[in-house]
Amino acid sequence: MTHASAQLMRTGLPDAEAAIRTEDLRKTYKTSRGDVQAVRGIDLDVPSGEFFGLLGPNGAGKSTTIGMLTTLVLPTGGRAWVAGVDVVGDPVAVKRRIGVVTQNNTLDMQLTVAENLEFRSRFFGLGAREAGRRAEQLLDAFGLADRRRAMATDLSGGQARRLLIARALVHRPDVLFLDEPTAGLDPQTRVNLWDILRVLHDQGQTILLTTHYMEEAEALCDRVAVIDHGRVLAAGTVDDLKQSTGADTVITVRYESAVPDGLAGKAGITGRPGISKIETDGDQVRVFTREPDGVLGELVAAGARDGLHVRDAAQLKPSLETVFLTLTGREYRE
């Protein structure tokens, strides 16, 4: 009976299928210069086994969101569940079920590489001998075996990241959180880390990753939420986002002086099929279109007829970057 009712309770929890769920999650920091709304009502629903990305520029509220999901930041509004457990109601139970790779290097600098894994395993209840075995297993898997006796301070940036990820996995967490895992790494190291994360995902590990690198989200994530100024602007698969926002190709032409009214009309592109939006702003014209052929040339030519010289021009193929541009009207600031 006890077992059955325990089962019932588990399934009775809000959306037991979801690895991560938030409802109108908010965080407002009180500072001497007034309130700062870091997160303004975020709704997420990440099923088990998904590789989910929170994408946004620095200061968008990604780290605050991950902080609330990992119990280190107290929400000021809304609710959140991780592995079916309320993050505010039972933070200890949440901490048992999550692995966290923080943005900073939070390795224990007083310990060796192996000891970092051993003690973390023991914090999570393994006996000393078991913890030693677990550490060896992880050191081998993460290619750190020859560094096991090195102090954590002596690791390179890439090795430290690998150790941080290994350490987050000692207790087989239900959900792995990674906050900007590849920030500041060289391209080769980044690609190596991506490979590790892909393997973890293939094994069914639920992963939530924050990143401000578009290509990282595109390369890894099943689904992405684009966030800025503490709000989710759009969420879905990368393909869905590209489709739904309608911004297929973005063409930007910047002239040497202010653009006169009606330039786009003179260029003959206003009525064209496939064009969803034309923006004129100061010295630049930006066209969002599904049929980009010839548009750039027309804009340059039309400008030349008016004596406007082109300073620079860009044609961006559909990508998360164009999605962001469409959603916010701003260049993506990394």
């Binding site: 280190l72 107290l74 939070t106 310990l111 003690f119 023991r122 914090f123 078991e130 996995l169 094994q203």
Partner: protein, 310 residues
């Protein structure tokens, strides 16, 4: 035949070796069952590992101050004679009081230096690492993610600091007993070991709790203030170099120093080590040491939690 089958096996496994290794550790790892006691014990084990690794540095830190103090006060000064002005100034009223009751200065110093060492070690062991953990990389987040409530982490920090503080006081003991000029041996005799242990433990907890509170409220950029504003006045006005009773000739000071927790540590140790010297009533000592540990521990744990969770 068997050989050829092996040779024909696809070499995919080799390329996937790293990946397979990562994969295996997810499916083959034991699922741990942390309990509060296990996690706490593991955190203490971590402290002892670090302590052992830094044993030489920690030991040197614990030995140098008391060694130099007793060398100068219990060896150099008696040798160069009481007429030497500096000696008279440093000894002050204590020497007068001590001489009256037939006690030498080393006897006064034994409990005083132990108390001073308790405070020093308690703060060194808790405050300094804590300030580091909260600044720069915020390495505190590592421990904060362990599966225990944040206040348990605070209690663990106090416990670990108290152990170091306790060890620091024990190291002082042989030094002050052994280093002195001939005929200047301190007269120390512990009559009540249980009370001695109780006072040492309570004093260790109090300094570690103070260390936690200071570590969570100190601005890291103003760490040098710690010496000027806390450590130095606490020690100089903490009845380290003179018994509290000797302050009766400066009544306002005798009352003022009662806000200093150091006074109760010095006097408590005086009560159990050198009872022939006048000391503060034991009930007052125990009340402040135990009550202070609870109050500062509570306040420290609260500010700690506020700093960890934002």
């Amino acid at each position: 035949m068997a050989t050829s089958t092996n040779l024909e096996a696809p070499p995919a496994g080799a390329a996937e070796a790293g990946g397979a290794g990562v994969a295996a550790l997810i499916t083959e790892a034991p699922v741990p069952h942390p309990t509060l006691a296990r996690t706490f014990a593991a955190m203490m084990a971590r402290e002892f590992r670090v302590l052992r690794r830094n044993a030489v540095a920690t030991f040197t830190r614990a030995v140098m101050q008391p060694l130099l103090f007793v060398f100068v006060f219990a060896y150099v000064f008696p040798k160069i004679g009481g007429g030497f002005m500096l000696g008279g100034a440093a000894g002050g009223a204590a020497r007068a009081g001590a001489a009256a009751s037939g006690v030498n200065f080393a006897t006064i110093l034994v409990p005083g230096l132990m108390a001073s060492m308790l405070l020093m070690q308690g703060i060194m062991a808790v405050t300094f690492p804590l300030v580091m953990e909260f600044s720069w990389q915020r390495t505190i987040e590592d421990r904060a993610l362990a599966p225990v409530p944040i206040r348990v982490l605070a209690v663990q920090k106090i416990s670990a600091g108290a152990v170091q503080s306790f060890i620091g006081a024990l190291i002082v003991f042989p030094i002050v007993l052994l280093v002195h000029a001939s005929g200047q041996a301190p007269s120390v005799h512990v009559t009540n070991w249980a009370l001695f242990a109780l006072i040492l433990v309570a004093a260790s907890m109090l300094t570690a709790a103070l260390g936690l509170l200071l570590g969570t409220i100190m601005d890291p950029r103003k760490m040098q203030m710690l010496f000027a504003v806390i450590l130095l006045p606490a020690t100089m006005l903490g009845c380290v170099y003179y018994p509290w009773s000797a302050l009766h000739s400066i009544r306002w000071l005798q009352i003022l120093v009662l806000v200093n927790p150091m006074v109760y540590m010095s006097e408590g140790l005086r009560a159990v080590l050198t009872p022939e010297l006048g000391h503060m009533p034991l009930w007052a000592v125990l009340l402040v040491l135990i009550g202070g540990s609870v109050v500062f521990g509570y306040l420290g744990a609260r500010t700690f939690r506020n700093r960890v969770l934002n």
